[in-house]
């Protein structure tokens, strides 16, 4: 579904992503793991064209999307739930969700209503708080809002950038449960995480990133069982 070839990202002199290639197949959960500063966020942001690429190619469903505008990439059905949530703080929860449907290809009201109900079903707390400003929600609720907003697009492919970052363990648990539910809805997911153990538990395959390069890739199971990797990335002695 998504092929990335030799992707490079530079910030001035800094090479944050040094030519990586990977693939996400339909209905898979693929995880990109690696420690802080490895270049995971830069990878996602450059695929979405929020930042420029210094090289490489991105193909989605057979179509070259390397140089499309961010808004056009979203319209293809690729949704990016960013690191740090980035909900709209002074829009209500419901307006945030409305903005999520901004690039939806089926803009009819009935379709919007249906999607809204689905998001509220998945995250009942958002329904309770639908008239509240996004900025007044707690961290976990904001993460749910960011995910719900993404679902309003009816995406086929979703990028999650560290959805568990800064959340209490019990909330982390919840968020990962929701991500699995979203996979069961038939979505394809690219999950970026520092919390490698959790990510590998729900993923089909994983890529391990280190200082801008992919150093290892395998099925999630094999990565978890590889003693060297387990020690380096999962903190298991």
């Amino acid at each position: 579904m998504l092929q990335v070839e030799d992707l490079r990202v530079n910030y001035g002199q800094i090479n944050a992503v040094k030519g990586i290639s990977f693939e996400v197949k339909e209905k898979e959960i693929v995880t990109l793991i690696g420690s802080n500063g490895a270049g995971k966020t830069s990878t996602l942001r450059s695929i979405s064209n929020l930042i420029g690429k210094s090289g490489g190619k991105v193909v989605f469903k057979g179509e070259d999307i390397t140089r499309l505008k961010p808004s056009e990439i979203v319209k293809k059905g690729i949704c990016h739930v960013p690191e740090g949530r980035h909900i709209f703080p002074f829009l209500t929860v419901e307006e945030n969700l409305f903005m999520g449907s901004y690039a939806n290809k089926n803009p009819e009201k009935s379709n919007y209503k249906k999607n809204l109900e689905e998001v509220y079903f998945l995250f009942p707390v958002l329904k309770e708080r639908r008239k509240q400003m996004g900025g007044t929600l707690s961290g976990g609720e904001q993460q749910m809002l960011a995910i719900g907003r993404g679902l309003m697009l009816e995406p086929t492919l979703i990028f999650f950038d560290e959805p568990s970052l800064g959340l209490a363990p019990i909330l982390v648990e919840q968020i990962f449960k929701h991500i699995e539910k979203i996979r069961d809805m038939g979505k394809t997911l690219l999950l970026v995480e520092q919390n490698a153990r959790k990510a590998l538990k729900i993923a089909d395959r994983g890529y391990v990133m280190e200082t801008g390069k992919i150093v290892f890739s395998d099925t999630a199971e094999n990565i978890t069982q590889d003693p060297k990797l387990a020690k380096a990335y999962l903190g298991i002695a």
Binding site: L50, P70, S71, I87, P89, G100, R149
Partner: protein, 289 residues
Amino acid sequence: MFYIEQLFNGITQGSIYALMAIGYSLIFGTLGLVTFVYGEVVVFGVFVGYYLYAVMGLNFGLALALGLVVTWGVGIIVDKVCYEKFRNAPRLIMLITTIGFAIFLKSSTQIVFGTQQRNMPDILGHVFLNIGTFRIPFIQILIILACIFFIVGLQLLLYRTRIGTALRALSMDKDAAFLVGVDVDKVIKFGHSLGCVLGVFGGVLLGVFYNAINPIMGPNIGLKAFTATVLGGITSIPGAVIGGLILGVMENLTVAVYSAGYRDIIAFIILITVLVIRPSGLFGRKLES
């Protein structure tokens, strides 16, 4: 009696400032930055309308409409020249580009339309509304109603339409706006030009109020709009309205108590006071996170 008349003058002028201030506030919200070219764009637009009406003989509505179309275009050019290439550059650069463009536009206005002050056609100049012993110029009531109309119209646009919601969203988090598929560049141009057009409406009304327009009044208009906006809390539209009204009333009461020479100093006093005592303005919002 005299003071009440001055108060009413103040409210009239204040509502014009309010209109200019919401235009300014809209631009600030859209670009996330103050602009120094606003007053000049307004004056240019007003002169285009004036020229079409008074020199070319078009009817008032058509002249105004064409003036607004030209203003919309100038707004897009300003965004292209001053902002587009520098959206991710240090903000200081965009301040400097607007200052440069302001100088260019002010000179262009003088070259194209001449340097002298022009008299605005006197519309309804002698129609008064008598309420008891008060005589209120009918045109002032029209001005106030026009301002209310545009202010309410902008609120409806921002809170009831798709593009309005996108504009508000954009002003809060540009990255997030990109990520939900907003064509950020287009919406910025829309917001910026809309702000300019609101300013020109204000400029036309100010010309009607004073019966005169002047090609070098740009910096003054920019200052008044900026002051009213800062007083209200820069991104708050209701704040900008109240800021404009306060500025208008204070100006006119000062003129009544002291002399007309003090009119323009009030804006500076308010601006400095607000910036020193309460930089977030009367209705500025602070984000805790």
